[in-house]
């Protein structure tokens, strides 16, 4: 009896100690995390406040934290005189081509790699893995030469094409397709369904989550892509938003026109951030599953 009592007593004491220790460390931990979160968010504070300040205000006091007289004038200037409407349309067109291409190419390729038995399968999967590893720096010169030779320099098609079948998307679809039971497809095959019918009628309806991840990851890649559109686009008529923003910031007349540039920054980053807030699970899964961004 007495030994049981002592065991219970020590347990209770240690539990109480643990509670007391936690009650000290936990608020500290929350405090530290809140501080980290504020530091991380600092650029977002700067961009909102800066975009609402007029040119005169920024020239007279570049480092002020808050606008003295908030104005939306920078945003109107972007679209009225700086051509951001055109850049926005270009970014949307390129993103639509890229996302549609990835859904089609990755669904088909991922299905074949996971569910069909064929000659050259190892080679094909090796190509997917190799394509994920090849650094962009190593191929952009030749990609540009090919784009010029195809007559696609300075066109939206030239910007979109290299991204329409990303190996990352194929990999996501292949991994997902592996988890779909083969019996379902086999049963349809025994019933005499053709390969395309099986793919469209049975496989695709089951692949929704992977299609969603691919849609989001390829949209993100397309919207944020910078170096390749920078190389291919040579005139304002084919600039995407990031290239247009970079070009605006490099124009001599805008060197200190931070209000305008920060308003442009908001237009560039807002669509992705809004999507991210609503669909963050898919973003995080996509990055955690592939290590890409």
């Amino acid at each position: 009896m007495s030994t049981i009592a002592t065991v219970r007593d020590t347990e209770m004491i240690s539990a109480r100690v643990a509670v007391r220790r936690r009650s000290v460390t936990r608020p500290l931990l929350y405090g530290a995390l809140v501080l980290c979160a504020l530091l991380t968010m600092l650029p977002f504070v700067w961009v909102i406040s800066g975009s609402l300040r007029s040119l005169d205000e920024i020239r007279s006091d570049p480092g002020a934290w808050l606008p003295a007289h908030a104005t939306l004038g920078n945003f109107t200037r972007l679209f009225a005189t700086e051509g951001f409407g055109g850049y926005l349309v270009n970014s949307i067109v390129v993103a639509i081509i890229v996302v549609a291409g990835n859904i089609v190419a990755a669904s088909a390729a991922g299905y074949a790699l996971a569910k069909l038995d064929f000659a050259g399968k190892r080679l094909a999967f090796g190509a997917v893995m190799a394509a994920m590893m090849v650094p962009f720096t190593a191929v952009f010169v030749t990609q540009f030469v090919i784009t010029v030779d195809m007559g696609l320099a300075d066109t939206l098609a030239g910007i979109a094409l290299p991204g329409v079948a990303m190996p990352m998307s194929v990999f996501i679809m292949r991994q997902y397709a592996m988890s779909i039971p083969g019996e379902l497809l086999e049963a349809a095959r025994i019933d005499g369904a053709g390969e395309f019918r099986i793919f469209f009628r049975i496989f695709l309806p089951l692949a929704g989550p992977a299609v969603a991840t691919i849609t989001i990851m390829s949209f993100l890649a397309s919207w944020n892509n910078f170096i390749w559109p920078l190389i291919v686009a040579q005139s304002m008529s084919s600039y995407t938003l990031p290239v247009g923003l970079a070009a605006t910031s490099q124009a001599a007349s805008h060197v200190t026109d931070y209000g305008l540039l920060l308003a442009g920054a908001i237009v560039v980053m807002l669509p992705v951030l809004v999507l991210f807030l609503f669909l963050q699970r898919y973003f995080v899964q996509g990055v955690a599953g592939t290590g890409m961004r």
């Binding site: 460390t25 936990r26 929350y30 995390l33 979160a37 991380t40 650029p43 700067w46 800066g50 570049p62 480092g63 002020a64 934290w65 190419a105 088909a108 390729a109 299905y111 790699l113 069909l116 038995d117 064929f118 000659a119 399968k121 094909a124 190509a127 893995m129 394509a131 590893m133 090849v134 650094p135 720096t137 190593a138 191929v139 952009f140 010169v141 030749t142 990609q143 030469v145 090919i146 010029v148 094409l161 290299p162 329409v164 079948a165 991994q175 390969e195 793919f199 993100l220 944020n224 910078f226 170096i227 990031p242 920054a265 980053m269 951030l273 991210f276 963050q280 973003f283 990055v287 955690a288």
Partner: protein
């Protein structure tokens, strides 16, 4: 079980259909990855210039001349050192912050976990061109950063125009952009550690610190290796941050190898650019092969 071991009947092979399904990916892969990789090697052995693009076969074969010139070019050697600095400073810091946050979110707190995760991951998806402008605004001579420093009595420098200070700011932007990726990967690793291991350790009297050192860290080793390789590949190829903040300046102090390749390309020296990019390819492939070996058991 036996069907997988036994030789499959011929009828189950669908080579024609499968390659039809693979065709869209295969065509893009050949056109934009396979051919360019081989061609880059070819270009790097020639004196190809931007003006020769209309007639790429009229150029002269120069053997390894581009590579020899590359490794005698002081600015290329400096850029290799700059890139190495990015890796050596950036990788441990990014991993340290990513792990600390993942650990705190996973084991330290219950509430607001989702909110913190959204906040810390937001930089990963934020457009880098936009962010770089914000950093220029904040770090310019009269900017908010210097205003804060001034308030506590320091005269803030002109960060991005100082050859000694530009690099730390550029690396800081890299870390800000990437620690969320490390955090998410570590979170996935931590959640895969079975809870009963901790309960058993707690019963044996192991405190939190010993649990971290003797259970969590050893079990996280595969994740740690994977994250370190991934970040090494990211930072080896670093381009956006130095291009946008400083364009490699002042005095080349922030120029990376990728940026060197781009500047050579911009000046029309496509042969030299290809040689530099091939050096990059070999480096990244070496690191990636290690990554592939680490990832394979899970795939």
């Amino acid at each position: 079980m036996t069907t997988t071991v036994a030789r499959r009947p011929r009828g189950s092979r669908r080579t024609g259909v499968a390659w039809l399904f693979l065709a869209p990916f295969a065509i893009v892969f050949l056109l934009y990855t396979a051919v360019p990789t081989v061609a880059a090697l070819g270009f790097s052995l020639t004196d190809l210039r931007g003006t020769d693009l209309r007639d790429p076969f009229a150029v002269d074969f120069t053997g390894l001349e581009n590579y020899l010139r590359l490794f005698q070019d002081e600015s290329f050697l400096r850029d290799i050192l700059n890139t190495a600095l990015f890796v050596v400073v950036g990788v441990p810091l990014t991993m340290g912050i990513g792990f600390a946050l993942a650990f705190a979110l996973n084991t330290g707190i219950r509430r607001l976990r989702g909110v913190f995760r959204v906040v810390f991951f937001a930089p990963v998806v934020t457009n880098i061109v936009a962010v770089a402008l914000i950093w220029q605004y904040a770090f310019n001579a009269g900017g908010t950063v210097n205003k804060v420093l001034g308030a506590v009595g320091f005269a803030g420098p002109n960060w991005l125009d100082d050859p000694n200070l530009a690099m730390p700011v550029v690396i800081l932007l890299g870390i800000w952009r990437n620690f969320g990726t490390a955090m998410v990967l570590f979170l996935a690793g931590l959640q895969a550690v079975p809870q009963d291991v901790y309960e058993a350790a707690a019963l044996d009297g192991a405190g939190r610190w010993r649990q971290l050192r003797n259970i969590t860290l050893p079990l996280l080793l595969p994740t740690t290796l994977m994250v370190s390789v991934l970040l090494t590949v990211f930072y080896l190829q670093v381009f956006d941050e130095p291009y946008l903040l400083t364009n490699g300046g002042p005095l080349g102090s922030t120029e990376s190898v990728a940026l060197y390749t781009y500047h050579q390309f911009g000046s029309g020296a496509l042969g030299t650019s290809s040689a530099a990019s091939f050096v990059m390819l070999v480096l990244v492939m070496l690191v990636s092969v290690v990554q592939f070996r680490l990832l394979r058991p899970r795939a």
